[in-house]
């Protein structure tokens, strides 16, 4: 047997190729022609902005981020998600940097950054570990962990449901799946914030933060090469694609993706659901009385507070549904806006916890359907079940103290609730 030396060299990012544009930040003049998902107004409440745009300018534009579009109708968003011929996933975070075209079809973090035909093969490697049946094996440990978090509230009158509860659940679950030390959770949080919320930081700083993430990942990977275990990291180190093991950058990129995609998103979904229940006593009381309704209610929380917005890059100049898109324009793909389109949902702006027909797109549409959707649903259900069982009565301690993450993954980051 030969020694696996793929991960032994000191790994540093190549000097960045690709294109960069000047950062434009500050108040938005008109959302139809100058939108920015990084401004505080959007973070605080994007829905009225999206509803207004859908009615008056359903494919909005901005010159920020080097140029981009924001469709707000379900139909348009679905069409773009399905159209991988004309819209690339080469970068899925709308920022001031566009990776070079040669990075396709693999991208930095397969499979989310990959285009066909490579995408399918990279995705297939992950699917078996994330089926409903596989993730069910983690339910008991997840439940016990949720209980331990609530145990730690003992004696407190006010707790932060985002910071002290929601955040920890996906961190622990993904650390367990990857075989990383559970106490490294707080570091993951920093990585997540850098990737998703640091979009307008200077490039040197973004790069330095990226290096920190990858240094950590390569150290974990080397540790697994030396000491293989029954976990996802060892699986990715050993798995073969096209008859050979994966490139080191593919292994590290996929792990980075799982870490980043798995934490922020689920934390946001749990937090937004608890926020809704904290401010809506009728729904909270009904779910406490009828726990069997939770799976239905949870889909409605995912629809109404869908945490994830993706992005695409336009491949070539084209006239698309009335607008002139240029090659390398961004498209901000707002699944949250799709989920509130009255053309698709009755009473789209209301939260109806027993909504029976709910064809929402919180986990995306088409070939990039969230690989972690079964895991996320399990975490969300268990987190809410345990909370409602242990803390059936709670409310917002101070509505004005609630803060929301800016950027493409949106959920409460500070959520003080009164439990005593």
């Amino acid at each position: 047997m030969t020694v696996d030396d793929r991960f032994t060299r000191e790994f540093r990012q190549e000097p960045p190729a690709g294109t960069r544009n000047e950062v434009i930040a500050g108040p938005v003049s008109d959302w139809a022609s100058d939108f920015s998902h990084l401004e505080p107004e959007w973070a605080a409440d994007p829905y009225p902005i999206q509803d207004d745009l859908r009615a008056r300018c359903p494919i909005a534009h901005t010159d920020r981020f080097g140029g981009g579009w924001l469709p707000t109708r379900y139909e348009d968003i679905a069409s773009i998600a399905y159209d991988t011929e004309r819209f690339s996933s080469r970068s899925i975070i709308m920022s001031n940097y566009r990776p070079p075209a040669e990075i396709a079809p693999v991208g930095a973090v397969p499979p989310i950054s990959s285009d066909p035909p490579f995408h399918h093969d990279a995705r297939k490697l992950l699917l078996p570990a994330f089926t409903k049946k596989e993730v069910a094996r983690r339910e008991e440990a997840t439940r016990a962990f949720c209980h331990s978090l609530i145990d730690s509230f003992e004696g407190a009158e006010v707790v932060d449901a985002a910071r002290d509860y929601a955040q920890h659940i996906p961190m622990r679950v993904i650390a367990d799946m990857l075989g990383f030390p559970p106490e490294d959770g707080p570091r993951f949080r920093r990585f997540v914030e850098s990737a998703l919320e640091g979009v307008n930081l200077p490039p040197e700083e973004r790069l330095a933060r990226m290096d920190e993430l990858f240094d950590y990942l390569y150290a974990q990977i080397r540790n697994h090469v030396a000491d293989p275990r029954d976990d996802l990291t060892t699986y990715l180190i050993d798995v073969e694609l096209y008859g050979r093991k994966l490139e080191p950058a593919h292994v590290a990129g996929t792990i980075a993706l799982l870490l980043i995609a798995g934490i922020d998103t689920t934390w946001s979904a749990i937090g937004a659901s608890l926020w809704h229940l904290a401010k809506t006593p009728a729904d909270r009381e009904r779910l406490v009385a009828e726990p069997g309704l939770l799976p239905t209610a949870l889909e409605e929380f995912l629809r109404a507070y869908a945490p994830v917005t993706m992005a695409r890059l336009v491949k070539e100049d084209m006239h698309w549904r009335g607008v002139d898109m240029k090659a390398d324009d961004w498209v901000l793909l707002s699944f949250p806006a799709a989920n509130r389109d009255p053309g698709q949902f009755d009473r789209a702006d209301e939260v109806i916890i027993d909504r029976e027909i709910n064809r929402h797109a919180a986990f995306g549409l088409g070939i990039h359907r969230c690989v972690g959707s079964h895991l996320a649903r399990m975490e969300l259900r268990v987190a809410l079940e345990v909370w409602l069982e242990r803390v059936p009565v709670f409310g917002l301690a101070d509505p004005s103290a609630v803060t929301w993450a800016p950027g493409q993954v949106r959920g409460p980051r500070t959520l003080p609730v009164r439990i005593g």
Partner: protein, 66 residues
């Protein structure tokens, strides 16, 4: 009534096997599959309709005559 899944459209969201576990299951990669021959037993028609109406990819077809 008979149900079928279009494998070209199915992306494995799993709404069908969540909502109508008597009629649908998952394969090793999480894609939906019809259990048995897809003929909906009496009493399961409503579950079949709910599953079809919740599939985000519109991959489930319901044939009323079967």
């Amino acid at each position: 009534m008979k149900v079928t899944i279009d494998p070209q459209r199915c992306q494995g969201h799993g709404r069908c096997y969540d909502l109508a576990p008597e009629l649908f299951g998952e394969d090793d990669e999480g894609y939906g599959r019809v259990l048995g021959d897809g003929v909906v037993p009496p009493g399961e028609e409503r579950a079949a309709r709910v599953a079809a109406a919740n599939c985000p990819e519109r991959a489930i077809d319901l044939a009323e005559e079967a």
